[in-house]
């Protein structure tokens, strides 16, 4: 069984990517901490900074934050007064998420530091190298598809086998969340 060796020859690529990401983000973390927001919150602020408003599923896609996490993150951000959430009139499932003026002002205050940090990183690793790295990562994302995407949605028509929960009835009629 030569093709079934029990040894691991390849490097741990996910770990390598994780290390790279942590190395880069370590330069930004002080800025985020100084403004009291988390990584994920900043990603959301950043995409909403460019658009008047977005829907949760769009933010999920743009920020790579899972839908279950998004619920908690947005709730906390609303609690902090960073975002507003309201139902879309013609479709009561959907929600419009927008930055508050306070969050928009905070993003404006953070932008110079963020940009300066990028320039510092580029000065360190070289602008061409930075561009090259981004190009390779883009190509990786374009070439390698997500495993399990496009697979069967696995419609679960079976009965629930868990103890029932509190229904948490949606505030029918109230636009505010």
């Amino acid at each position: 069984m030569s093709p079934k060796s029990t040894k691991l020859h390849h490097r741990n690529l996910p770990l390598l990517l994780l290390q790279a990401r942590e190395r880069v983000i370590s330069h930004f973390r002080p800025i985020l901490n100084a403004h009291g927001i988390t990584e994920q919150q900043w990603r959301i602020v950043r995409v909403l900074y460019e658009e008047p408003w977005l829907e949760p599923r769009e933010i999920v896609e743009l920020c790579r934050i899972s839908s279950p996490s998004m619920a908690g993150v947005l709730a906390r951000m609303q609690e902090l007064g960073l975002v507003t959430r309201r139902r879309i009139d013609h479709d009561q499932r959907r929600v419009r998420v927008a930055l508050t003026p306070r969050a928009r002002a905070m993003a404006a205050r953070m932008a110079p530091g963020i940009e300066a940090t990028y320039r510092r990183i580029e000065r360190r690793i070289g602008r061409p190298f930075s561009a090259h790295l981004q190009q390779l990562l883009d190509r990786l994302l374009a070439t390698l598809e997500t495993h399990g995407a496009g697979a069967a949605p696995e419609h679960h028509g079976g009965r629930a086998r868990r103890e029932p929960r509190r229904p948490a009835t949606r505030t029918t009629g109230g636009q505010e969340l």
Copy 2:
């Protein structure tokens, strides 16, 4: 104030690296799930698979898992019968962590699938591209230093301002953890 623009011109590089990592790891997740272990647990199994034993701080370094997380992860892995932990005789602070035979056998069973997945990924993105990407990431890690490393340890000589906790006295004398 031309250098203090409130706009964000650079791409979100940490997000790009996160996307790349998630894309790659999505191909391995089914294997991990099938064997009932998490990403981090696999990283630990993998490094311990090559060495007879390691100390927690070494695993922290090799697997990029923070020290506080490591405590919980190792405790769960010990509970699952994947690792053993015992104090080092001549230094009661330090701990030796080793894989159990059971974990070693599991790693051996997983190895073929892991390797096959790497080969599949390389077939998709191209072996040269894969090598090139790894080279760039290595160079990034070699060039860009961690921000905040080597800074002042900030000796905290002040009084504790929190309510006292249960001391959780270390089992003085007992090697078993």
